[in-house]
């Protein structure tokens, strides 16, 4: 392991991803420090999920390197994936399986030998012990998110990737999820999340990167990003209430045009 990889849990360098002739990710570079919550922000189709998919090993980039906890994701994919906990944007588990069986499956494929009592204790910790023998599809959206997050962290990963984790959640469930994300950081792990919510980015992220048209256009802490761009004419024009917010900066940097 290099000195650099000791302080960085994830390093993405010069990442390029194409779908046919369309380049979705253009020379993207950023890194996530150990113990930080890093947010990847961008409009629809900006390249967030493509970048995340490459880190997760779901798609192979045309060029660039991804290093997870000192392991090159291309050369040692299983080691890189073992260091990651992942919650996909639209996670689904086998609909025939009970919640307890889904947890048993994922514990097993991460090499953990968890007994029934241990799994019930995990479910009790997220107040879902009484849902153990329900099928995943029978749970509410908030309950499904809690199960997905607990599965993503069941093996105590060094880096947790969350793709739009609070989409579709009510405010109570969202706040609860933020607390769980912060709890992951408190345990010394890092979190990389994508989100459309500027409120979420400001509330939980230590640093953020704004990605647009496949390129990273800014990386900083939310407050530093506001301070840096508060005098930009486009940001001022985007401001609605006189006070510059992260959303104003985001709109100022990425434009008002609606993306599909």
């Amino acid at each position: 392991m290099t000195d650099r990889s000791r302080s960085h849990i994830l390093t993405v360098e010069s990442l390029n991803i194409y779908y046919g002739k369309f380049q979705a990710v253009k020379d993207v570079s950023f890194s996530v420090l150990k113990g930080e919550i890093f947010g990847l922000l961008g409009p629809n189709g900006a390249g967030k999920t493509s970048t995340l998919s490459a880190i997760e090993g779901l798609l192979k980039p045309q060029s660039g390197t991804i290093n997870v906890d000192g392991y090159d994701a291309n050369e040692k994919p299983l080691y890189a994936r073992a260091s990651l906990g992942v919650q996909l944007q639209s996670t689904s588990f086998q609909p025939e399986l009970f919640v307890i069986e889904v947890l048993q499956l994922y514990a097993g494929i991460y090499g953990l030998k968890l007994g029934k009592d241990q799994i019930l204790a995990i479910l009790k910790d997220i107040n879902l012990e009484d849902q153990a023998y329900k099928k995943f599809g029978e749970l509410s959206g908030g309950q499904q998110q809690r199960i997905s997050l607990v599965i993503a962290t069941i093996h105590n990963p060094k880096l947790v990737l969350l793709d739009e984790p609070t989409t579709g959640l009510d405010p109570q469930s969202r706040r609860q999820l933020w607390e769980r994300i912060e709890a992951i950081r408190e345990r010394g792990h890092a979190v990389l999340l994508t989100t459309h919510s500027m409120e979420e980015a400001e509330a939980v992220c230590d640093r953020i990167a704004i990605i647009d048209h496949g390129r990273v256009i800014a990386v900083d802490t939310p407050q530093a990003m506001i301070d840096k761009h508060r005098d930009d004419p486009d940001v001022i024009a985007a401001s609605r209430r006189g006070r510059i917010t992260l959303e104003d900066v985001f709109i100022g940097l990425t434009g008002k045009e609606v993306r599909v």
């Binding site: 994936r81 996909l88 025939e96």
Partner: protein, 249 residues
């Protein structure tokens, strides 16, 4: 802290447990795959004396194998791919081949179950019995014959992404196999048509099953059917793997 990679056997064990549980919870669809083979066993009882017991058993097993491979395995893979179940598994430190190997091992057990069910009903209802060697050889050729339907299903699910289209296609192909099999047996398709049916995937599987039920009668014709069956498996599997995408989006 050193990163620990789970052993493939541990991951495979967990996958198998989940896949067998899924199969068990879908036992109604398993029963449905046996419907046509059982109908053949019942309706062809009067033909046993004329065509021979092995002939009836071979047709019955062939239909059952194609039902399990096309409508069981293929439809399940298309559905799970569309729901993102494979993608969730693939972000774990488990080789992609292990995910499919688990599914296929479940199907091998299904092949053995279907074959056993046909043997049991064939014996109890039609009074058809084979020698011990005949039973053993038939189990082996049933696995080979089942592989052709699985590889054909893999090719379909590789070529078509939409799960509803996969579902419709597998049913059409299954129906075509039943019709081809039936008309082929009636010798109503002319010389070229009968030859085509005989060397079709249905025909070769039926031939190797029939010949293995009476191993002493295994001849060069059966060997040719076996080689052609293996060739079909290689071609379908190669195309199925080449075309297959883990994500339907």
């Amino acid at each position: 802290m050193e990163t620990i990679i789970p052993t493939t056997s541990a991951a495979l064990t967990s996958l198998l447990r989940a896949d067998f549980t899924t199969q068990w919870r879908n036992r109604r669809s398993v029963v449905l795959t046996l419907v046509v083979p059982v109908i053949i066993l019942i309706s062809w009882k009067p033909l046993v004396a004329r065509l021979g017991g092995p002939f009836v058993l071979a047709n019955s097993i062939t239909i059952g194998l194609f039902a399990a491979g096309l409508m069981g395995y293929t439809v399940a893979v298309a559905r799970d791919r569309d729901k993102g179940i494979f993608q969730r598994l693939r972000v774990a430190p488990v080789p992609s081949w292990a995910i499919m190997a688990s599914r296929l091992l479940v199907q091998v057990v299904m092949i053995i179950l279907i074959t056993t069910a046909v043997f049991v009903i064939g014996k109890d209802y039609d009074g058809i019995t084979l020698t011990v060697t005949g039973y053993i050889f038939t189990y082996l050729t049933a696995i080979i014959g089942g592989s052709i339907s699985l590889s054909l299903g893999q090719m379909i699910v590789g070529f078509i992404k939409n799960p509803e289209t996969v579902n419709a296609t597998t049913r059409l192909v299954y129906l075509a196999f039943i019709l081809v099999g039936m008309f082929g047996e009636l010798k109503q398709l002319g010389e070229i048509g009968d030859e085509a049916v005989h060397w079709s995937p249905y025909g070769t599987v039926k031939t190797i099953l029939l010949s293995s039920m009476e191993p002493s009668g295994w001849d060069s014709h059966a060997t040719g059917a076996l080689f052609l069956t293996l060739l079909y498996i290689v071609v379908f599997t190669t195309l199925g793997i080449k075309w297959f995408k883990w994500n339907s989006k």
